[in-house]
Subunit: 190 residues, 6 copies
C-alpha cells in the first residue's frame, strides 16, 4: 500500500495524550482518522499550533459561512496543486454546502463554478493572497466591500488562504496521501 | 438552471443527420448526452472535424492503453483549468482504469498520483507539450524511450495533449458546463 | 540537408488517394508542397481531421476577413514560438493582406503593428485564449462587441487561436521545418 | 506618521493577559515591541497559534543553527516581497550570524551571498517549497542529504519556508510596517 | 504615415555636428537612415553613449563572428518582443551570415534554427542573461567552455544580451518603428 | 576574501589614464572605490560608454530629483535581484533622500514604501519597462501624466530602468560584489 507520508507515522500509543485525544475524537466523529492528523503527530508542538490555527480560522463566527470558508480552502489548494487538501476539504465543502458538484468546480476553475458574485469576489481576493501577495492593495479591499464584506471578513479570507498556503506546502513536502474515504464523501445524497 | 454554454444550443431536429446520429448513439451508450456534443453541434463542420480528430487519437491502437490516454487528457485539462474536461474525462478515466481515485489525483498533481514511473514519464512529456512547447527537445524523447515508449507513442502522447489543449480552450471559451452525471461516474463499484 | 520533421515522411505513392490528391492540388496551386502536408500524411486519419478543422475555420464566411484570420494565426504562433507556423502563415498573411510588413510586425509584437483598433481587440482576445484561457470572461466578449464583433466572430477568433495552439504544438513536437519558399513569399510586389 | 497596519491596533490594556505578558517580555528583551505583536494581538487565538508555531520551528533543537533558520526566513521573505519580514528578520539574522552583511545579500539574491554550499542547498530547498511546491520530489531531498542534512532537517527547512509564507502573506495583507529600530540593528559592531 | 517614434524627431540641422556626421555616414553606407539614429538624436548625450556602447560590443575583435553577435541580438530581441530590433538586426544578420533564413528562425525559436551546437550554447547563455539573470551560475560558464568559448567570449555574449535588453526597452518605450527597407534586406541573393 | 568579480581586475597602473582619473576622483570623493569601477576597467571602451550613459541619465536636469532617480535604480535592481546595485544604490538613495529607511523599503516592495503617489506611479512605470516591456502602451504614459510627469520625464524613468536593467545583468554576470562600506552608508545620522 502507498505510504501516507514521506515521513514516519508514530504509533498512537507513543503520541502525547492531548494529541491522541484529538485523534480519537475526530475518528469517532468521522469514522476514520484523516491522514493529516497522523502525519503531523510526530511533531507534537507543530501539531498543536497547526490545529489551534486551523480552528481559530475555521471554527470562528463571522461574515463567512462554514461552507464559504471551505470554498476558500479548496480554491487555494487547487491553485497550489495540493492533492491532500483538495480531496479532503473538497469532501468537507460538499457536506457543508450540501452540494455534490461545487468542490470539483472550485478546485479546477472557480471562475466557472456555480457560486454567487459575492463568493467570486471572495475567491478573487483569496487567489491574490495566494498567488500575488506583493500586489495586494486598497483596490482589493474595495472589491470586497462592494460585495458587502467587512474588513474583518477580508482578514478571514486572507488568513484562510495564507494558512492553507502553509498547509498545502506541508502536504506537498510530506507527500501526504488523502484517505480513500474522502473521495466519495458528500457526493451521494443520503 | 445554469446554461450549458455561453453560446446557443441547437434543437436536435435542426442538426444534420450524421451529427444527430452520433448524438443519439452516445446517448444510448451513456444514458445521457455529454454537453460537448450539444454545444459543438451548432457548427457542424467543426463538430465533425473535432470528433474525427478525437477518435483518431483516442480510439486507435498503439502502445498506450485507453486508460493511459484518458490520463493524459485529465492531466492536460487540469493544467489548463478546464472544468468540463476534468470532470467528463475524469469519469471516463475512472471507468477505463477501474480506479475510483486516480482521476482526482492526476487532475490536481500527477506527480503525487498512484501511477507507474512509465506513466509519470508519459505525463511529464504531455505537460511539456502543454505548457512549454517551445523547449521540446531530444532529451524529452530520450526520457520516453528510457521508459519503453516508441516514437509513435511519443506522437500519441504529444498529439493528445495538443488536441485537448484545443478542447480545453474551446470549453473555457464557451463556459461549457459538465453534465451532473459525470461527477459520480466510476466512483462507486457496481 | 536538415530534415523536414523529427518523424519519417511517407512516399507520396504510399499515401491514401484522397490525401495524395490534396497534396497534389496544393502543389499545383502553390508551386510546392508545404511541409505540414508531408509531415502529417503518415497519419491519414489525423491528416484528414486536421485539414477538415483547418478549412472549417479558415475557409468559412463570417465577420472576419481571410487576412484577419491569418493575422490571428501569426500572432498565436508567435506567442507559441512556432517557427513553421509563423513562417508559413506569415507568407499567407502578407499575400492576403497585400502588405509585406504586417506579418513580421504581428509575429513579434502585435501591439506595435500597423493594424486597426478592431484588429488589436481581435488579437487581444486571441492572446487571452492562447495564454490565459482559464480567465476568459464576460469582459473579454464585451471588449470584442465594443469593436463591432458578433459573438459568432468571437467563436471564430477563439477557435482559430485554439486550433493553431494545437497546430503549433504538433509542429514543435515534430520539429517541423518551414519550406524555404515561404520566407520570401509576399515580400516583393509582383 | 504612517500606520503600523491597515487594521486597528488594540490598546495593551484590552489585550488578554497571556498576550500582554508576551508583549511586555519581548519589549523588555528588545527595548521595543516589534509591530507584528501589536498587529496580531487583535485576534488573540490567531496570535497564540502564530507564536506557538513560530516558537516550535525557530526555538527547537536540531541540525540547523538559529542563524540558519533566520537565513531561511529572510530568503523566503525576499522571494515573497514581504517588507516587514525582510527588515525584522534581517536584523535578527545579522545578530545571530554576527555578520552585518549577510541579511541584505540573502534577501536580494541568496545565490550570490557569502554562505556555505550547505547553506546554499538549504535555501534552494526552501525556495522550492516557497515558489514551486507542486514539483517537490525525491531529488530535492537527495540534494539536501548530499550536504549532510537529515530528513528531519528537511522538514525543518520546508516548514520554516511554509510558515513564513503564511507570515509574509499576513504582513502583506495588513500592510504591516517594520519598526524603525530594525533597520540598523546588527549593522554596527558594539 | 505612422510615426517613427512616440517622441519627437529633431531636424537634422538642429542636431550636434558629431551626431549629424554619424547619421550622414550611416545614410551613405546603407542608403537610408535607420530610425534608431533619428529617434535617439534628440538626446545627444544618450545618443553618444548608446552608440559608443554598441560599437564597443559589436565592432570588437574576439571569439565571436560578427554574424554570431547579430544572432545574439536577434534572439534577445525576439524574447523581448522588440519589433524594431528584430526587423533591423534580422536584416543585418541575414547579410552578415549570408543566410536569408536564419534571422526569422532565431527570432521565433532559436532552438529550432539551423545553427551549430556551439551557437545553440551561445544563445542559451544569452537567454539566461536576458530572462533569468538572477540564476546565472558556474554551470552556465561551464556549458560555454564545453563548446570552446573563453570567459572573454562569455562576457561578450552576456554584455550583448544585456545591452540589447536596454535597446529593446528603449524601442518599446518609444514605439520605435523599423524602416520599411529592413524587411527585405538580405532576403534575395544579389 | 571573496573576489570582487568572477572576472579579473586590472592593476590601476595598467588602466588608461582617463579611466584611472575617474577612479581616483571617485575614491577621493567617497573614500573608497566602488567595485563596479574596478570590475569594468578591464574593458576600457565599455567602461567609458557605461559611465557616459550613467551620467547622461543620472546627472541631468529635469522633472525628477536625484533621489527619485536613485529610487528607480533601487526598485529596478530589487526586481532584477541584483545584489551589487541594491546595496550600492541603496546607500546613495539613503544619502540623497536623507532617509535611512526608504532604500530597503523600495528594494523589497515599493508598493509598501513611504513614498508619494507620484513616486508610486513613477515606479509602476519603471517596473513595466523592467518586467513587461512588450505591453507598454498609451495608458502607461497617461498614468504618469495624471501625476504631473511630462513625456520627457517618462523617457527619463524608462531609460533609467532600461539602463540599470543592463547594469543589473552585467553585475549578475560578473558576480559583482558590493563594497562592505555601502551597507552602512546613510543609515546613521551624522
Amino acid at each position: 500500500m502507498t505510504a501516507i507520508s514521506r515521513f514516519s507515522i508514530p504509533e498512537l500509543d507513543d503520541v502525547p495524550e492531548d494529541i491522541r485525544d484529538r485523534i480519537l475524537k475526530v475518528q469517532e466523529k468521522s469514522g476514520f482518522v484523516p491522514n493529516v492528523f497522523l502525519a503531523l503527530a510526530r511533531r507534537p508542538d507543530e501539531f498543536r499550533a497547526f490545529f489551534a490555527y486551523h480552528d481559530a480560522l475555521m471554527e470562528k463566527e463571522g461574515g463567512l459561512t462554514k461552507a464559504e470558508r471551505e470554498m476558500i480552502v479548496v480554491a487555494t489548494s487547487g491553485a497550489n496543486n495540493c492533492q491532500y487538501c483538495v480531496v479532503a476539504h473538497g469532501a468537507i465543502l460538499r457536506i457543508r454546502a450540501k452540494n455534490p458538484l461545487v468542490a470539483d468546480q472550485v478546485a479546477i476553475n472557480y471562475r466557472k463554478a456555480d457560486i454567487t458574485p459575492r463568493q467570486r469576489a471572495m475567491l478573487d481576493f483569496a487567489m491574490k493572497v495566494s498567488l500575488r501577495q506583493a500586489e495586494i492593495g486598497d483596490e482589493d479591499f474595495a472589491a470586497l466591500r462592494a460585495q458587502g464584506f467587512s474588513d474583518e471578513d477580508a482578514w478571514d479570507i486572507g488568513a484562510i488562504a495564507a494558512f492553507f498556503g502553509l498547509s498545502n506546502r506541508m502536504a506537498n513536502l510530506m507527500n501526504l496521501r488523502p484517505n480513500d474515504e474522502f473521495y466519495l464523501l458528500g457526493r451521494v445524497p443520503r
